[in-house]
Symmetry: D4
Subunit: 212 residues, 8 copies
């Protein structure tokens, strides 16, 4: 299952020792092993024991990759954010997608309150193979993007906001109620899950091509 | 208080007889008397006793106006809806505003899932004195409009939608979380309240002009 | 946008006359026009004016199709339900997908409380190109299926249930919290939206194949 | 857009270095640049690099203003709070309004539990051009004030309270349900947004005056 | 327990036959028997079998009283409502209190959006022995009244309102968060419970007087 | 208003300096001044400047009392708690009541899971003038007590509990739904408000006695 | 699975024809077939086709039983309700348990507001093998009973109540927060599920006895 | 009541001194005394005064046991977890059950996203006397297990998860809505309560055996 995707460890609630042990075991059978939600000070402790561990600070991901990592896909995952504060979630998606072997295009800070900036990047949306759209607060970006795009949109609500954003529930509801069809929603702040879904969407095409 | 605005009766939970009695009493001292949320069959009963009662079916409003109704303002209230189903709420706002003496421009069905249709009406938004933006489901239209407009935006969530729209709570939250500043939100389906707020905004300018 | 997909009318809150008028207008420019959430008695009125209108009662969909309807795809959409009561939502998805030109495989009543029945259909899940999984009450089926499948899963919560199901909020939350990655969630009872997302996923592959 | 208003940076989730960089860039093109939700220790770090940065501690705002700051308006924004604990939110509104060029009148601690204190300031409400009303706990002040005032009321719920105040949801609901029309509501603790809306309301009048 | 208070039957969910049987049994041992939430057509059926049954239509209460009903108290229960739509709940309280032997003063339609009307009845509040304050929508009246009064306030939220009133949850939260101390809250629409609490408050004084 | 009751300062969100200043000002006109939610380390700072300040650690209250404090009432406030963890809230009520001049009887740890312990104190409940019942978790104690008592019950939900107690919302709802009439509910953890309400209930009797 | 228990059909959302067909099919392999939530008019239609169908109106259950129905257990299920309105849910549990072969003891109307009536039946609780406790409104009965009982308690919240009972959510939360251990909670109004759990609890003992 | 079960102290909100005192008092009359939710540093302080205190770190329980501890039951409690993060809750259940005298079988990390791992342990479920199933996030494991098992299932939702898991509310709702009958639910993270319920279920069988 999930053939060719990295093995993943969910960092929160695990001690550095536990993470090290799991990583060491997993790497024996898998070309790529990654852990998410890893703070810098945890990475310090991990890298003391796993020297070839790579850290992606803005994504809070660390990973062991190997020679046998998957060849790069020709199809691309295009990731958009509404604001700068959504960046850690978007980077979690971006690095996960890269570790799965898919190239990533990033378009940050194109929230709907300044719709011209979004529209001036219209070609990026029109040409996309699959889109990941990350937004907090009112979470309206996926609706607008899905109306412009002709490909599947993976929508990621974030906990960015305050008061009536209810820790991300408001943008989550916005995305589920999208008038534009073609939107699949994942959990609040779940950049990782969005990337896996996007990669699996692109793999449908890959399998099709390699089929006899 | 609310000088120059019509007297208003909230229809639900009142018998036709009660509405007739209140209207007859009020008209003795006020040039305009209106009632909201009046279904056609209720209007039939009212008009039997109040022959000069006018009915606005799409707004579910009926009103008695008089010769001394307020002169038309030069400033206009521009009303937008995301979808056709938002129309009753938008018309409640439009007719209320008209009865308060303000001209209304209507722009229906410009929801964010088809942002080009909205943008092709860009001049209407740019020239507006005050905007009322009505939207259900994801309720994202006020955010986009407030980003484009340089005037106050009154946002009205509607109960149009299903499932995760939670009878209008989802678009209400969306509007409260708007990244674009300059948005004031009213209760779900409250077209009447939106119109009164918009009229009061325009009256600030009127008072200013008539001040010595 | 949405090239090749049918034009769609959301039935609720529209009179039969309005639906007839919109359908007649749309059919002039589109090979397929469909309307959702159409009760049988509404269909009776519609078909009096549109003789070639086809009705799919279990899906509550009616549609006009034409000679130029899209050619059948080679890829299939596999649809699962947890219980019989989820059938109307699943059929809304199935008929929508068919009208978009994609063949559908149906697997009804394989809820997690009888996991052996699900597992005895394991090959259907393993071979799927894309899955739509429809479930109410506890909404656990998409998690189990996503763990078995190696393709994208579109999860549709339904309002089937009572009490703590909170009209579909409970299965919605279940699906958003799925431990298994590769799941995109749509609104409660939104069979139509699930089908469009699934079709768009398969079109990624189609575009890829037709690319030079 | 928002011509003549300051450029604004939302402080939370940004490092001092990021804020400094953004401010330095913005000041090149804008007469006024401000940042909100800045704690004193953050200000210390900012002012080391931006010597002309001014700090307003009770508002948690810091700002760079220039010679070309906007001329003072003749119209005034009147701000009321229900309790002392609402002061930071009210000051965020007051300083934002000042930086936009509008004079501010402050009336603190006139909550509805002591309605006589509010009524003894009746003239301030009657004469107001636009009102911002800030309240936590039961959030009843905007309703009472809107009943007394003949101008638009911008209502700001605060997270002041405990238990059933649900971090500001209770006063938010109160304000949305106001019986008195003419109230526009913003997000919980959103003093900044309230000020921008009030300024935009007064600018409607300004534009009107300067129109030919 | 509850010595001297009527026996009460909660009407909803009981057939007329069941209500008749319970009433006939109870009247053998109690001077006063009452039933709440009784619609007119149910009363018709009850009175056919219980000829001395009295109906209070605005309170939806019917009652059997006897010669040995309690002597009138000297202390009075003062009941206020915010709007006309709150009347059925307030009358449920008023009739219940009367049947318990306490005189009632009624003050209807003194909601906070017109605070002058409330204040012009200031003496009624100042002189009250105990107050019941009934309000829907924003539910702000009990806070204002408790600030004016020097006696206990029983606050009753009603389900009057729409949208963000959440069927009475909004005014319930408002009342629980009241800044003014001395307020006890009962369930939404619970006029009966409010009256019993108010009567029990006045009985504390009665017992005190009759103590040796 | 609130004649004869102490002046009260709500501690949270005020600096020690602010509390000292308010207390010093208030004591000039009031025989008793108290502050609630005062942690021990805050008291240390306050007492350095106000030597006659008394601290009640279990109630987190500090107070200045004077010779002219109110004479003791003959009527008593009886306070019950369900568990030991409810004690701080109950003591806040007890000390507030004492400072208002009312004697207090305490009955701790008589939760409904051990109903025999409650019943063995039956006489305390039967003889009570007014009851304050404090409970967290399921919050069932006020219902049982109100069924046993023949006097008003003030119910105080506490935030004691975890998970589905939702920080006190669960016991709050329980108390509002009490089948037993004669229960008035205050905000979560609001021991102070419960005491003021109870004192005001007893004052109804006091006024009655002193009336001519 | 569920060996020896009846086959069950959940009535809502199925046509009489569908129910008849499922029942006819099931009865070929199972001694007992039952359907829940069957209104009288549905039963009329069913019995026309299935002459030996038995209807239990207060439980809204209909069932086909056969000669080979399970022998009566020696252990008993004791069912309690707080109020009369909880009876349909309790009867659903009682009839289900009977059809599973377990004798039932019923104790109705022993809610906590009259705790003496509950205690006068103390022996029934003390001697119980397993208890099902059904309660709406505040839902406090299972806590009190679990404190008295020395056997497992299955708690069933009901949707009986109004306002803050939130259609049964309030008693559901109460039961989940029970201070008394030994309580397992099922969904709102789920009398059927409670009975199956209780039967399975008693079967643990049966299996034990029949084990070698 | 709860004869033969340990006396239990709920640790949170108690000082080490208080816990020591309660333990010392309780041990005089009870063979086993335990405290839950005890962090390691608290245990250090306790064990300084109670030398024979045993600590179970993964369960956060400490206990005093004696010679007269209950003899081991022949029936076993089988405990399953969905993920590793659910372990502390599951161990709280396991240690509690052991201290009650029941042997425990543990099956960790068999969540539904990898249903084959669960099924390969099928015999453990089929043979179980009673099951405790612990799961966070989507909380789907109890439904699947209850479908496989022929014994009672005690379901424990945990607060493991983020975003839409709402601190454990999502898995709680999932478990309450389980399609598979025979499931009793306890509060979020309540491993202790689950164990007591499971032990009481097994004691039904024990009592039966020892009955004459
Ligand atoms: N459609 C409406 N939406 C919201 N508020 C309304 C509406 N119609 C009337 N109202 C308010 O209801 C008040 C009249 O209520 P009533 O006295 O019950 O007729 C007016 O002062 C308005 O503020
Ligand atoms: N069953 C359905 N569920 C969700 N969305 C739908 C459904 N049917 C139609 N729609 C959406 O509603 C839009 C048409 O709405 P309308 O213009 O009101 O007819 C379409 O573009 C679809 O995106
Ligand atoms: N512990 C408490 N719980 C609830 N309300 C309180 C408490 N202590 C003080 N108050 C209220 O807070 C008001 C004083 O607030 P402040 O002016 O902010 O000090 C008093 O009039 C009381 O009504
Ligand atoms: N971990 C736990 N989870 C739930 N309830 C517990 C737990 N530990 C103890 N309790 C309950 O708390 C009661 C003791 O509470 P206390 O008297 O505050 O120590 C016991 O009778 C148990 O029913
Ligand atoms: Mg699209
Ligand atoms: Mg704007
Ligand atoms: Mg998968
Ligand atoms: Mg006004
Ligand atoms: Mg007062
Ligand atoms: Mg009582
Ligand atoms: Mg027990
Ligand atoms: Mg089972």
């Amino acid at each position: 299952l999930r053939t060719g995707f990295p093995e993943v460890i969910w960092g929160p609630g695990k001690t550095p020792e536990q993470i090290i042990e799991i990583m060491q075991t997993m790497r024996q059978n898998h070309p790529t092993v990654m852990a998410t939600r890893i703070e810098p000070e945890v990475y310090e402790k991990l890298s003391a024991k796993i020297p070839d561990l790579v850290y992606y600070p803005s994504a809070r991901i660390c990973a062991i990759t190997s020679q046998t990592s998957p060849p790069k896909s020709q199809q691309t995952i295009t990731i958009l954010t509404a604001g700068t504060a959504d960046l850690p979630v978007a980077e979690e998606a971006a690095i996960t997608a890269s570790l799965c072997g898919f190239p990533v295009k990033r378009l940050w800070d194109v929230g709907v309150a300044g719709v011209h900036r979004l529209l001036s990047n219209w070609h990026l949306i029109a040409e996309a193979d699959v889109l990941i759209v990350v937004a907090g607060m009112e979470g309206a970006l996926p609706s607008v993007v899905a109306g412009l795009a002709d490909c599947p949109v993976v929508a990621v609500p974030t906990s960015v906001g305050y008061g009536a954003s209810l820790n991300g529930l408001a943008p989550l509801l916005t995305m589920l109620n999208s008038c534009a069809a073609g939107v699949g929603v994942v959990n609040i702040d779940n950049g990782f899950g969005a990337a896996i879904l996007a990669c699996q969407i692109l793999r449908v095409a890959q399998k099709q091509q390699t089929a006899p």
